[in-house]
Symmetry: D2
Subunit: 329 residues, 4 copies
């Protein structure tokens, strides 16, 4: 009772959403009532974000992990159709592919642009696989809208708040990648920008952070998966391709991602990695993809019994880092 009164006072003063938690702790045989009113920087991610998102019949954040696969960039119509057929055959449930590519150098291949979106759409019509593709400006969102099912915000644009607001104004799911050296809190604040515009479908994606290690392109931070799952209800997927930058590490890191609770994987596939116009070093073949998907199911079955729902298991797995639900009486 008093709890609600205090909370309403806080709201009146700050005019800003907050999360409240009340705990009864036992300390040295005494029970202590601890009331925490936190003006969390991501209240909507906590309360409004959808825990599962359905796209073209596929559920992301549901009881089974999903695999999104495809080439780094779409290179031609044939390439897109062939890639879609192959990742479908390997067992992927969604297709990824870049039409506009953010490249460090302006002289590197920048993608096919609008044609890229169109070829992906054709690939979808052929295979039924929903499409994930990156957008980098308000104009590209407009161009992509008729063709793409999930808008990807790349790591380089995680701090591009104007772009986050733009995708927030659409009602299309957004796959939001963690920035190159972004903290978990910054990633959730970026998600908040999208949610604040009314779009409740945000999928978080761990894709490796910059460290001093040179054997890998980035360092895949799998603990971020467990932390994110404990902080917010949003689905969390892992991109082991950018996360490691090396073909031979995709399979072990995919296994590890599922084992620590990821809702899915985002994997670059190219059947002639050496000829790929971008990121060939980290692309696997569809044959390897098939093996990875088999691993995913093995691990998922071993750890999460069919009887209980995946979500509940996870809840038990990752005891909350911050208790957000109170138990005041």
């Amino acid at each position: 009772m008093r709890f609600i009164w205090v909370a309403s006072q806080v709201y009146r003063r700050t005019n800003r959403p907050f999360s409240a938690s009340a705990l009864i702790k036992s300390k040295e045989h005494k029970r202590v009532f601890v009331l925490t009113l936190q003006i969390t920087p991501f209240p909507l991610a906590l309360s409004k974000g959808q825990s599962s998102i359905v796209v073209g019949g596929v559920t992301i954040g549901g009881s089974r992990p999903v695999v999104i696969a495809g080439p780094c960039s779409v290179e031609s119509r044939e390439h897109a159709l062939e890639a879609a057929t192959e990742v479908l055959a390997a067992g992927a449930q969604l297709m990824r592919g870049g039409a506009y590519k953010p490249r460090t150098s302006p002289y590197d291949f920048q993608g096919l642009g609008l044609d890229g979106f169109k070829f992906l759409y054709e690939a979808k019509q052929l295979t039924g696989l929903p499409i994930v593709s990156e957008v980098m400006s308000a104009k590209q969102i407009e161009l992509a809208e008729p063709f793409v099912d999930i808008f990807q915000i790349g790591a380089r644009n995680m701090y591009n708040y104007e772009l986050l607001k733009e995708v927030g104004r659409t009602r299309r799911p957004v796959l939001l990648k963690r920035g190159l050296t972004a903290t978990i809190q910054e990633l959730l604040c970026a998600a908040e920008y999208i949610l604040l515009e009314g779009n409740t479908q945000v999928i978080l994606c761990e894709r490796g952070i910059r460290t001093f290690e040179t054997h890998t392109r980035n360092t895949l931070d799998l603990s971020a998966v467990a932390v994110l799952k404990s902080l917010v209800p949003l689905p969390v997927i892992v991109d082991p391709s950018h996360g490691t930058g090396r073909r031979e590490l995709i399979r072990p890191m995919s296994r590890a991602a599922i084992a620590c609770g990821a809702d899915g994987l985002l994997i670059e596939v190219h059947d002639h990695p050496c000829d790929a116009l971008s990121d060939g070093d980290q692309a696997i073949t569809s044959a390897t993809l098939k093996e990875i998907i088999a691993d995913v199911h093995k691990i998922h079955s071993a750890l999460f019994s069919v009887a209980e729902a995946f979500g509940e298991t996870l809840l038990k797995l990752a005891e909350p880092v911050h208790a957000n639900a109170g138990n005041a009486r």
Copy 2:
């Protein structure tokens, strides 16, 4: 002769600009001719970028360092006018001020928007100080154009290539800040995106990089100043306010920046730092600004004699990290 022939062959094959260098090295009493044809990732920064930029009568990259000062965000019309008067009195040559603010949290003060640009313009009319202000989208560039003299691209948008192209299409000078953990090469590639659209007026800005140190908000990388000056002709300025995040460090780091060859400083000033709507911790008063400007002149006079031009001295100071001009005969 043969050198030119080889170079032209490379160009024919790659259809891409490159830098060539030829060296005659002495090694163990033998002279070795070393020809290096490097498809540098930033050929235009090397060849087309302006080494000095004149804005409203002030030369950035000229024989004397410049100081750009003003509040983090414009908070009101009065605030803008007062701030301009004060930084002018303290000796600053340009004014900075934010109308649109990129904030990690969507719940933090986001700036006055268009009004901010208008108030800055009024401040300019009052004091004559040219205006530097940040833009974050194509739309904001349009809004800023009538009011702002130099477009600032903030650290969070250094990788926002669509925005870089947009400011590249204008003919207004661009102050490009280094990204949160960007390498020098990535900063120069970002400059290249602007130059490639035909805008030759790019000012580079070191503003601190993320490290593990917690006593400072960022770690100001002053060696980047000397490296940049040795790599490209573009003017390089230093932002000790974001670079350290602590008021008491602005003065020593401003001194150090000038001592190692920076073309100028970008400093946040607020006469009531505690009441500032953003970044109060790192704002200095105009009284301290005056002392800093006095230091700047003392160091500059001590190190760089009046007789010789500043630019030439620097050239001697920072022997080139990569020799780009050959001495083949």
Copy 3:
């Protein structure tokens, strides 16, 4: 034939061990012979390091993963004996415990010293669990020798080359932790210091690296496990306790470590984490340890069938990052 001749010439010139690899690559329908003679910085780690180490009947690096568990510091005789009994009951195969503790502040608890080693030895006599404990100087090695089965070199001492030489001169297995921000190459060079003194029993340990993330104490770099397994034959274990610094992340990260091929886990256990004299935040109870050990077996069985040896499977799993064995014909 010629291959061997070239190799012997290299050795004659450098008088230094090296690794040679020969590959026949197919490129555009032509077969190309590529001979790589690399003066690797860690030749002994490649050629002399033991892939499995037997301590008190337990095989580290064998066909099944091992779990080393125990308190951060030994706090008393009772504490050591109780802890040993509990981790044995939970299914651990070795016991860890600190007698000398490297602490950032000289005012923090520094461990029980020699008594700590003695209590651990008593615990071993009670339970049969071999003991892993840290040493930080030549003198401590001497003190530990009668009581400890595996010498641990902590992350802070990975660059302490004099200490590495000292443990290299013993014939006791060494558990070598990766430094706070050490690269994989630096870790292998540290191992090389030990091997060069004639000690072939080195166990590598990933324990998290320093990054900008604040939700976790360190960032556990699980891709390092797959990279290390592909580079050298040495056993690789993972310490999720220091790697994350948070109790609730130990279980998901332990699962992930085994899934990506680790040979074992090093876990801090304390039955009253709140009262622990050091690192209480990251200690789990023996009840949670039991659940983790169950997970380890589930994942291992699911991924690595009983028929084939664990080692071979791994070989297939992690296709070599650098091909070190040639296939010249």
Copy 4:
């Protein structure tokens, strides 16, 4: 009065040194009394560390900056004597040189050992320059004692607490380098280990930290100089050689170091950098050293007038980051 009572209570409970500060702040026209009792992790660095240290007639931390110069490693008797003569002629006040070298690879040149110390001692007898040389173990301290004036603890050993205790037990000044990615707090805690053994002569050295930048070997963190000077009385010097790893950056960064308040410089000099047995890339010639020393004096004279003592000026320059002296009445 009450202030002292509270303080004594804290001491009674914690039995540990602490720093107390009391402030009277004005906030919204009300005066607020703020009492802060901080159990600082480095109380002795605050209270017992010497602000200036006299070695062989040279004062480090006095009214003028000092320059310590010499080769990375001592390569022969002739080399040591020649180097000493040259750095003396260039204006250096102390000589540095490595006898035992910590190298990442055990196959790299490890130094001349004891002979190195002896040659340095001869160089001292010839030139009068006091000697700074690194020690890495208790045994090396013993060997160095008759020959070396200042013990250097290298970056790789900053966390080697057993070694810190050993040099703490001597009564020789210690030059303590910041660890590869150590925070300022960790550096001061390392100093505390030395002070706690009764050695009050600790010189702190900023030598660059590991970042993602690849143009420089490390990133010289000059803001650390200003922060350290504001936190503790100990002398602070800068090593631009390891701090940048590139010859052409030594001069600009030396200028910057003095401009932001460093008490001195530690510079690697080698008259045939290409033939140096270690770290040739970052060695400058004695001719450049002479120019740098001239710069040092120019900047120091320009910024710090002769009338007032250097120390007092600095005090004004760097307003304290943490107010440690109270003004309660």
